[in-house]
């Protein structure tokens, strides 16, 4: 079997690495571009779901900079997504009489998200490891609460009232509707296909940025900090500044997807940005392989495929089996209620079997297996 595989893939492996790379990329891009057509032909009706998946993939790519490259465990990443989405919401909600053009608003969201990345990062990035995780976790909880309470803003100094009961975010109901993009007279509406191409463009942009940054002075500084912060500091890498850049750039990517998501969904409310979302995105990064762009993209897609397709299909199948075999509990089962159980299980298995993720970066693999080698050595000597 292995031999058959070997001989079948022979011509492929005979190609120079560069050509193989171009072919793989070209083919993937081609598939992604014609996907809506394929979907239409086979009547899958999944374009909308795939678009949502890509929103999460863009988020995962942003978090990859923070967690994968710089090694900062951020458990509140959804907060920046929320900030991006709310920026778009506030600037386009008709009741505010601003209704800015979406193409300007999306950049505003990026800038605001990056700004908050710096605001949050400045006091917290002096912390290391676990402490940072706890602080970001708290931040992730605070932001939705703030959004809920900004439905009534009053600012006053003594008797002077600057703002009285100003409705910025419309509280629990959230902002609805949110301005949609339009281009050359074409309006984005309920047809998911244009949205699909837009998020594809954003994803391409974010991947491009990931690649460029990875092989740069900044990318090396991030890696060095992840490896040994003290040594990096002594070699002239400013830890606080470098980490802040990771936070800000990571946050700006979630600003992109936040703006897109708000416009596509047409409604945003605090409930959308709960802790679950941060964890889901983190799972995508870890499952695929921290620090590896391909890993994060494929890992994220697999996780979402599992969530949206495999779980529902298995539910249908299990019910069918239950009905034919007259097993009552099986006939009424709903596996999608178990999604977090399966996620948790998948994480435990991944951590035990392949802690570097499904498609790891070379450096990460080396890091995570170094501990094993060290523990093995004394036994070998003995």
């Amino acid at each position: 079997m292995a031999q058959l595989w070997h001989s079948l893939t022979g011509p492929w492996r005979a190609l120079p690495a560069r050509q193989r790379q171009i072919l793989t990329w070209g083919f993937s891009i081609f598939l992604l571009l014609i996907y809506p057509l394929v979907d239409k032909t086979f009547k899958w009706g999944l374009v909308n779901d795939v678009t949502d998946v890509l929103v999460l993939v863009v988020l995962a790519l942003g978090l990859n900079i923070v967690v994968g490259y710089a090694g900062l465990l951020d458990l509140g990443y959804a907060a920046f997504f929320a900030i991006g989405a709310y920026t778009t919401g506030v600037l386009t909600w008709p009741a505010h009489h601003l209704e800015w053009n979406f193409w300007i608003v999306i950049w505003a969201s990026v800038i605001v998200a990056a700004f908050f990345g710096i605001v949050i990062g400045t006091p917290t990035l002096r912390l290391r490891g676990d402490y940072l995780a706890i602080v970001t976790l708290a931040f992730g909880e605070i932001v939705p609460v703030v959004m809920r309470n900004l439905g009534s803003v009053s600012i006053g100094i003594g008797p002077w009232r600057l703002l009285s009961d100003f409705n910025l975010t419309n509280g629990v109901q959230g902002l609805n509707p949110v301005g949609r993009p339009s281009i050359w007279g074409f309006n984005f509406s309920f047809d998911p296909t244009p949205w699909y191409y837009l998020i594809l463009l954003i994803a391409a942009l974010v991947i491009f940025a990931n690649v460029r940054l990875q092989n740069s002075r900044l990318g090396r500084a991030w890696m060095a900090l992840r490896e040994d912060e003290t040594a990096a500091d002594c070699m002239g890498v400013d830890p606080v500044r470098t980490k802040l850049q990771a936070f800000a750039i990571g946050a700006s990517f979630s600003g992109f997807s936040g703006a897109f998501y708000a416009a596509k969904l047409q409604a945003i409310f605090p409930e959308l940005f709960k802790f679950n979302l941060s964890i889901m995105v983190l799972c995508m990064v870890i499952l695929g392989g921290m620090g590896n762009i391909k890993g994060v993209v494929i890992g994220g897609m697999l996780l979402q495929l599992f969530d949206r397709v495999i779980l529902t299909q298995t539910t249908v199948f299990a019910r069918h089996v239950g009905e034919t075999l007259h097993i009552a509990p099986l006939a009424t089962i709903d596996l999608s209620l178990w999604r977090w159980f399966f996620f948790g299980l998948a994480m435990v298995v991944i951590m035990l079997v392949k802690p570097e993720g499904l498609f790891p970066s070379a450096a990460r693999r080396a890091e995570l297996h170094a501990a094993e080698e060290e523990t093995l050595q004394p036994a070998e000597r003995g």
Binding site: R212, S216, R217, L218, M235, V237
Partner: protein, 276 residues
């Protein structure tokens, strides 16, 4: 003016004075050593120079600029390179990447430059790679650029640490026990490398070392610390002959024993002379 000037530097940890009112001058172009028994305050002093500790009092000047209390990366930017007692390479990065990280504070490209791949950034990166390869070749790691740092042998890892410190373009290089754990052959090579760095690159070197053979043969100036204070300084010959140094290392009785021995030797010799 000396390259590194410590003026009344003290460091207290609670009630313990690890270094007290130390004055030290390291002249430009020198290979200087800092020695002393365990707990004498050598590493504390190193950590104050490189920015890990803020001195409790006193001044630390590098080339006339105050570096006491600066963050390590600021001190590095002002021309201070260092290696570590326990090797601290970025072990899962390649040798070349390690050296490139060392150049970090001498490069200017910012995130937007990297994103847009501006011409200036591309040129800078190309130059940096070229220089990194040169440095690797210089310390004897030519052709090993793509090897992960942790896969290098112990001696080569020490060399890579020196290359990485050289990449920061230092005026003064601090070497914390550069030959610790090396076999005699590796030690000789390391000493030759240190000498070469000073002679070719005009970098002043200050090292902590326990191996007296290394210290005596390589240093031009030695400072001896004991209990956080300077007890002697001078050329290897001066330091070796200083009774205070012998006392600090071997205990008080030793000097007496030595004198007694010398007397005995003198006596027997005179007796020999007498009989002859």
């Amino acid at each position: 003016m000396a390259l590194l000037e410590a003026r009344g530097i003290s460091k207290k940890f609670g009630g313990l004075a690890a270094v007290s009112a130390l004055d030290l001058d390291i002249e430009k172009g020198m290979i200087a050593s800092l020695i002393g028994p365990n707990g004498a305050g050598k590493t504390t002093f190193f950590n104050m120079v490189s920015g890990f500790y803020t001195p409790t009092s006193g001044q630390m000047l590098l080339d006339g600029k105050e570096i006491g209390g600066l963050r390590p990366n600021r001190a590095t930017a002002l021309g201070l390179g260092r290696t570590f007692q326990n090797i601290r390479l970025f072990s899962n990065m390649t040798a070349l990447e390690n050296v490139l990280v060392g150049m970090n504070c001498r490069l200017k490209s910012a995130w937007y430059g990297a994103l847009l791949r501006l011409r200036s950034v591309v040129q800078e990166e190309a130059k940096a790679h070229e220089r990194a390869q040169e440095l690797l070749a210089y310390v004897g790691l030519g052709g090993k650029g793509e090897t992960l740092a942790k896969n290098l042998s112990y001696g080569l890892q020490r060399r890579l640490e020196i290359a990485r410190a050289l990449a920061t373009n230092p005026k003064l290089m601090l070497l914390d026990e550069p030959t610790a754990g090396m076999n005699p052959l590796e030690t000789t090579d390391a000493m030759a490398l240190i000498k070469r760095v000073r002679d070719d690159l005009d970098i002043t070197i200050l090292l902590i070392e326990h191996d007296m053979k290394v210290v005596m043969s390589i240093s031009e100036f030695i400072t001896v610390l004991d209990h956080g204070a300077k007890i002697a300084e001078g050329t290897p010959e001066q330091v070796r002959a200083n009774p205070k140094v012998i006392e600090a290392y071997l205990g008080k009785g030793v000097t007496k024993i030595r004198r007694a021995k010398q007397k005995v030797v003198a006596k027997t010799e005179s007796e020999k002379d007498g009989t002859a």
